[in-house]
Point group: C2
Chain length 154, copies 2
Amino acid sequence: MKRPFCHLFEGLSEIQFERLDTLMEDISVKEGERLFREGEVAEQLYCIKQGAVEMLTSIDDQIELPIAILRAEGGYLGMSSLVPPYIYSLSARSYEDSILTVIKRSRLMEQVKDDPEMGYFIMSNLAKTFLDRLKETRQEVKIHFKTLFKVMQF
Amino acid sequence: MKRPFCHLFEGLSEIQFERLDTLMEDISVKEGERLFREGEVAEQLYCIKQGAVEMLTSIDDQIELPIAILRAEGGYLGMSSLVPPYIYSLSARSYEDSILTVIKRSRLMEQVKDDPEMGYFIMSNLAKTFLDRLKETRQEVKIHFKTLFKVMQF
């Protein structure tokens, strides 16, 4: 199996990666296919091996707001599956025909119990991804405020 | 020394906490005092033992936008000190006279090297805090969009 490059697993040793390999399963998804919805119980995470996935959030019953398009070569999603209360905070839809590597939280956590260093690396990478997203999202809020201030100055 | 309750250290064993204790130092800060500024190198994190700290971000040279007020009984800041590139992503200012417990990243990382399980717990707690902040910030973006949609419907 070709190993997926996934930012979540950066820093792991060859042996740790081999152990992870046994937990992973590849799936093919068609363009437009739903992977999960915001608010559902988050049991698994996905590394993008090939293709792209769109992340969305519901504004109301009718409107979904696109948040990001994640691509192969590092992209991963379903991060809420690793953090209590384990509820997906966004929806995910395949943006094009894609191949995803799926990992169940329960199986990953068994590994981490035996190898806390692996857990340390994974959680450090996860924290970094969350911080990067947080900074991007704060930038959006800033842009809204800047616009508001400009409008108020007229 | 009275142990600070800090969400970052939840789940640690008594022995792990005792080892951490030796790395911590309490400081007193006056209302309005700057702890760090957005963009500065992030070398240490702070648990709030008593009082409150305001987090802010610069909109431009003149305007700072308040992001949150963090309080004792769990609140901590300077989270960017644990994640590359180790640059504070917000500014912090004491909101009232406060007592803070300071921990240097370099000393914490030495401990984590010897005890990866401690690192796993800390990074898991950190990831949870980032995800919570990310959800709050996304809610703000949603409110902006909802307002925008309403305006457009008129």
